[in-house]
Structures are given as C-alpha cells and as structure tokens.
Amino acid sequence: MLLKERSILPGFVPAWSYTVLYVSLVLLIPIAALVLKAATLSWPHFWAVVGSPRVVASYRLSLLASLAGAGANAVFGLLIAWVLTRYRFPGRRIVDALIDLPFAMPTAVAGIALTTMFSPVGLLGRALIPLGVKVDFTPLGVGVALTFIGLPFVVRTVQPVLLDLDAEVEEAAASLGASRAQTVLRVILPSILPSWLTGFALAFARALGEYGSVVFISGNLPGKTEISPLIIITKLEQFDYAGAAAVATVMLVFSFLLLLLINLLQWWSARRFEPGARRQPA
C-alpha cells in the first residue's frame, strides 16, 4: 500500500496516517479553501483586483523592502557569523544567544519597540531626524522592521558552514602565496556561497509575509507604506472576502516559488558539503 523500504521498526502506518491526516486537515484543506474562494472570481475580476494600482504598489513595497531587509542581513549577518565563529571577545556567547531574539520575540512587541526607537522623540529618531533621515512612517521604516525580522536566518545558515571549513584549506592558500584578501574572496566565500544565498532567501521569504513588526512603524499610508498583507486585512475589514483571497493567492504563489528556490539552494549546499561528494575520485 505505502511504498516504503523494509524496516523492523514498528509504527510506520499509524504515524504516517496521523501525520498525513493532520497536515491535510490543518494545512492543505484550509489552503485549498483559500484558492477556491479566489477562484469564485471571474478572470477579469481577479486581474482587476490583484492588478489595481494600490495593490500593485503594495507588491512593489513588499518586494523592495524585503529585498533591502534581506540584503542588509546578507551583509551584516555574514559579518556577525564571521565574527562569532572566528574571533574571541568578551560577551561572545551572549551575542550568539541574542541572535535568535527575532525568532523568539513576538512581532508586535518588536514593532512597537522599533517605532518608539525611531519616533521623533525616540532614542535613534532624535539623532536621525535632524540629519534628514526619517524612518518611522516611511518605506525605510518597513525595511528596518524587515531587517530585524530576518536577522537570524543568514547568521544561522552561514555559521555552521564557517565552523566546518577546514583550517588546512586556508593554510594551503596562504602558503601558496595568496594574500588574506585573496583567500577570503576565492577560497572561503565560494564555499559559503550556497548557505549564504539560502539564508538570504529565507530572510526574504520571511520578510515578504511579515505583518506584526511592520504595521506599527510603517504608518500604513495607502500606495506609499502599505504592505501586501495589510491590503488583505483592509479587504477583510470591508468584507471583501473574495478580493482578500485573490491577493492572498498571489502572495501564496510568491511563497511557493521562494520555497522551491530555497529547496534548490539547500540541495545545492548539501551536495557541496556531503562528505566526499565532490572530492571522491571518479
């Protein structure tokens, strides 16, 4: 019935059945309900909803701000992972533990904290606004919130790979005459590239759907600082269920495409680091 390799361990059928049943009930059927709801709209109507200027502006903001947030994380996340794995300094373990804060801290709490920090009377806002940098109620604020949310992803995907790198490879490069910069750029960077990209893609995917940390700092000005998840909420509040489902379906397609990309990246990075996968003589 179920195609599976032989094993003497018991419990496969009940555990498999429960898993599939639970996934179907909690996840697959509700998602199907969403897509079916969107399908109650005719094609022209569907396109009119998901292509209206206000909705398109929200995709643009969501995509660009997520790209900016994930980009900031790619740069600083790599730096933090590097510093945590390579150097000793006081407080290193505490910083390491803190990196997971955005996973553990509820998004609404992060949202009001960031908004307060960057408000005109806030700790950072007071310093930045005289310089002409306004963060709260601007697209920049959306980017800041999305940077916070995505911070752990790059650090936690790059960190184990950096730890596993053989010191000998770097020593070999150095003894063959490479400068430190050459070693970093041409030996270390290529080895961490797949995991680095995976971290970037994970941060990007998380940022695209993020809601709680953004809504407070963005100010939600239609067409300017309104992210796609907020459009869904607005449509729901107007009892436009089919419209909400249509925009949600577009977001779902984005999510699935990203998930596919992430799986490909992870497969690539696993292949790279599977013991002996590349070094094995043919």
Partner: protein, 289 residues
Amino acid sequence: MIEQALRAEPARRSEATDERPVVRGALIVVALLFVAVFLVLPLLVVFGQAFAKGVVFYARAIEEPDSLAAIRLTLVTAFAAVSLNLVFGVLAAWTIAKFRFFGRSVLVTVIDLPFAISPVVSGLVFVLLFGAQGWLGGWLSAHDIRIVFAPPGIVLATVFVTFPFVARELIPVMQALGNEEEEAAIVLGASGLQTFFRVTLPNVKWGLMYGIVICNARAMGEFGAVSVVSGHVRGLTDTIPLQVEILYNGYSFTAAFAMASLLAFLAIATLVVKSLVEWRLSRESKDGN
C-alpha cells in the same frame, strides 16, 4: 536549529590565516554595533517604557480585567496549540526520521509550508473556511457553533502558524541518531511504545524540549494570524499581542509596553532555555567522545 549546538570556541589561528588586529577589531565593532541597534536597543526600549511610570503603574496595567483576560486566553491557546503540535511533531518526526518511503521529501516540504506563508494569509484561510461567508459558515451558524471571531479560531490559527516547530527540531536530531538503538530494542523484544519511551525519547529529550519552548514562544506571541481571526471582542478574543496593539493604538503606551514586556520576558526565557539545551548537548557529545 539545534544542530549547531556543538558550536566550539573559536580556535586560535596562525598568523597567515588571521586578519590583522586592526581589521579584526573593526569587524567586531561593526558587528556589535549592528547587534546593539537591532537587538539590544529594542529590548531595552520595551523594558524602559514598561516601567517608565513605575512599578505600581506596571502592576496596575497588567491587573486590568481586559489584560488579565488576554493573559488567560493566551495561556489557554498556547497550551492547546503546543499539545496538538507536540503529538503531531513526534509522530511526524518518527515517520520521517526512521523510515524511507515514497513521498517523504514532499512531506518534509509540506511541513515547512507555514514558515513561508504570511501569518495574515494563515489567518485568512480559517475565515474563508469557517467565517459567516465561508465554505462551512452556513452549516456552523445553523448549528450555533462559532469558530472564527471566537477562541477556537484563535487556537486553529495558532496551530497553523506554529505547527512545524516541534517536528523541525526533532527530525534532524532523530535522523542524526540513526536507527540502531531502536532496532536493537525491538530485536530484544521491546514493544514499539517501550522502544519509543525508553530508547528514543531519552535520546531526543533536549531537542524535543527546545521544540516545545520555541513552539510555545511563537504560539503566545503570534499576532498577524490571530489578529485576522480574532474579531477583537474585548475581554473575549484578545490575546496578549492583540491587547498590546489595542493599548498602543489607544495611546496607552506605557500599558502597551507593560503587556509587551511579559512577552519580552518570555522571549528571553526562551533564549536562555535554548542556550542551556545547547550547553547540555555539547557536554553530552564531549562525554561521548
């Protein structure tokens, strides 16, 4: 994410494979500044604002009837969601880690789906299923059952958003341990349940514990999905994060941060448990060597 548990101290490196002290110092300073602005400062702001009007005001903000109701609903919701996802996570991990079968990698991907789906969309699916205009809405209202805009909807949305966590933590740990110990137990005549509780569970208990703790933190803190299904019936369907939003938007900033500080304490406790679990795991692996 427990796999990184065996994180070692950075080794002292030779001169050829290390940066110059100036470069090293600069990199450390930039990294710490970034961590300070994005992680430490928000935490300080939460606690600073929460206690801005003193401890008495703080206590009074939390003792508000609406706030207490929100705390109660959050605890009940998290308990229900964590229990359901715990049972699922253990069974899913057993299926995926211990057996090779057709469709296994598809199942792994599907379990990860909620990570990629916007919390707002996660809430919306239940409104479309159980809401007044939803697929089952007519039948439910005919039988006088309320799911959306009532606690059951909040539990469902929370289950949806948090359901990968226990499974995600357990699968790599179980996989890394292999099947030999369980197979030996079975060959020696143990029943399936005996094998699970006496062999598997003791081996994965730290991973399981972290899975439960992070699942709980996310369940208590979930905002987007819960906000969609809650309907904001005061004192009835508001969880702590929703109460934070209501207070904040009503300009009761100090009270909002007081409620938020409860969740921030929870986040810190979660990180402490994670560090403890990693410390235990690295000690166990050292003992094993």
